[in-house]
Symmetry: C2
Subunit: 447 residues, 2 copies
Amino acid sequence: MTPVELIKKKREGSTLNEEELRWLIQGYVAGTIPDYQMSAFLMACFFQGMSEEETLTFTRLMLHSGDVIDLSDIPGIKVDKHSTGGVGDKVSLILAPIVAACGVPVPMISGRGLGHTGGTLDKLESIPGFRTALSIPEYKSVIRKVGAVLIGQTNEIVPADKKMYALRDVTATVECIPLIAGSIMSKKLAEGIDALVLDVKTGRGAFMQSYARSLELAQTLVRIGTGFGKETVAFITDMSQPLGTTIGNWLEVVESVECLKGKRGHDDASSDLMEVTHVLAGAMLMLGKKAKTIAEGVELSRASIANGSAYRKLLELTAAQGGDASALENLERYPLPRHSIEVKTMDTGYVAEIDSLELGLTSITLGAGRGLIEDTIDPKAGIVLSKKVGDSIDAGDTLAVFYTDREAVLEPARDRIRKAFRFQPTPPQQKPIILSYVEKGGVKTWM
Amino acid sequence: MTPVELIKKKREGSTLNEEELRWLIQGYVAGTIPDYQMSAFLMACFFQGMSEEETLTFTRLMLHSGDVIDLSDIPGIKVDKHSTGGVGDKVSLILAPIVAACGVPVPMISGRGLGHTGGTLDKLESIPGFRTALSIPEYKSVIRKVGAVLIGQTNEIVPADKKMYALRDVTATVECIPLIAGSIMSKKLAEGIDALVLDVKTGRGAFMQSYARSLELAQTLVRIGTGFGKETVAFITDMSQPLGTTIGNWLEVVESVECLKGKRGHDDASSDLMEVTHVLAGAMLMLGKKAKTIAEGVELSRASIANGSAYRKLLELTAAQGGDASALENLERYPLPRHSIEVKTMDTGYVAEIDSLELGLTSITLGAGRGLIEDTIDPKAGIVLSKKVGDSIDAGDTLAVFYTDREAVLEPARDRIRKAFRFQPTPPQQKPIILSYVEKGGVKTWM
């Protein structure tokens, strides 16, 4: 067996068997198969795809390239959620405390910002002292004590994916469903979960912009999860405009805290965020056997906000991971960015569209994300939307406010944010935020 | 501009413009674009191809990644031949002396064995002392004095191709027509030629196994050559069985010497080799204005064998490049391989097919080629065919004899060589060795 033969085989559209995939993945992790051969293989996968069985085998081999965490000594059905990534997607920060407060343990391994999307780890680390690089024993100790834990990928967990993901990011081989599915599912299966809820984003701000591709990804993910004996369901949710009102790490923590406190998220610009959060929480509580149906789970989720238990769980989780919970209790104490700039419009009418991809990219220029792998993030930087799709606007209205320490980006950022809004004279048709529900048995339109 | 954007652009099937291609090629040569990004780009090219204009631009940028040799101070129309590579293809060793002997200068930059095919440089270097690594001034001096010169690619000539070719070889991105065409033509255009004859191989032992793909390659090559203002014609020739009787470096030198002396190549098993050689020589002499037609050129070519001038030119060329011409005059003095093994058959009937790909691969195991880039070649090793397609066989007949110093390969090699022959009870239909002639104006079946 040589790498060239296997690349050629995939290039010609054949299926690789378990032995071949194992040899390739093990060789890559060991460094005997160099990056330049793996990237050619990955590009061949982009064009030729993988069969169902091949995707399952690929995922299993990725999973077993490292340790699989055993949480069987922790009581309860452990359920996690994974999102394919969006703009302003701070759902995990609100969801994990809710579900843990309702009694279902949430072991969550998250990622950093990628491309135009933000990452849960970067958001959490904007909380002073919050540590996401826990060891496996620390991870187990936090979930045992708090009922939730949010960490980054360790060196022990799926090292093949850690290495391959970095390569895919710089070789334009990200947008390939079997590779995405293998990457996501191997990490989730390594966490020690019993069941999984997936939030597959679709639209302009998602990696899968078309509904058809998002559905294909959702079905692949559900099939793999089920194939590994873990109950897995997925929602396809809209990412054509940012979720909630904030984009940027600390700004998103603030919005999450206010939603957890019940101050926001009812009939306001954060309602879309809380609608997605409650439905995902409802599904997790159903899979965790704390509710019979998703609807019943949603009720429990809402109650955990109303009775303050979800918010208290966030404080508890923050403290357990080394964070300063008082920073969450006193949001106003956080350092202020040097510049806060209002973006106004001269138009009148209604907001028809907000280009979330463009806002995600602009937030990176403000300091909220990384342009290069070695860049550091400014946790204060970001964008707060004053208007969302469907809102009416008058000349002189503020569309958004942005925050940054960077003098040089002020004018281009103002311009890009303004242009990300598209208007029309009449109110646009309301579109659902949750489009479909995918489970082992099939796909349903969500109502 | 980032490498990822350009990879993605090609991946999506777009055409890259000159600025983008220049940035990519220059960055790759300079080392700022790493192998792993280039290999992903090359695989995307494999699937998406290049437009005609893009291929021309790519070739020009490759060409100008290094020096272009100026031979304008050397009298005559300089004409070269390039073959896309085959098994037993020693045409260059016979052709260059013929054409030079007929008064047309032949500046030739050749390659080493690649995949299952042999390389002219490896064959020449089996002659004691023969140097293929000449400097540009030495190259010019030899062609001025002898009328022909055969060297390897120097560091000054198309460095982008030198680096990219090595990468393509190990990433299964060789079989892509625009990449092949850009690689061949950039090197040929850098040699200082005025005109070019191409031998595009087709069939089992060629890189392009189907006639349609071979034709596409031939047309692309002719289009590029013409686009650069060099008269270019191509022949599509059969590589479904090895050319002549020998595979292996010194063995092929011996066959070439015997053909140049006129001892072989008339109505024997080397006839196919000499038919291809004479037609290519005829076309080169026509392009070099020493003959009005290819047929007239073929007559000159035959005459150069008959009158001994072609053979004397080989001795002269060998001496000029540091080789021991007396080794060619006394072929029997060459060291003998440790093992010479006859491969016999128990069948009767006719040889229907000889799998040249399999024989090429087997010859590598004997030591005639490299399994790994760092392997050294055993010049004595190889295979001599006793039977060719159409020959009748009886039980007990010898099909081939193979030569090697390697004890361990004797049994597997015997087995592979025997299995490379396919028999049938009746004589197979005679197939032409030269299939088509491609020039600027179009394609003609060759008769």
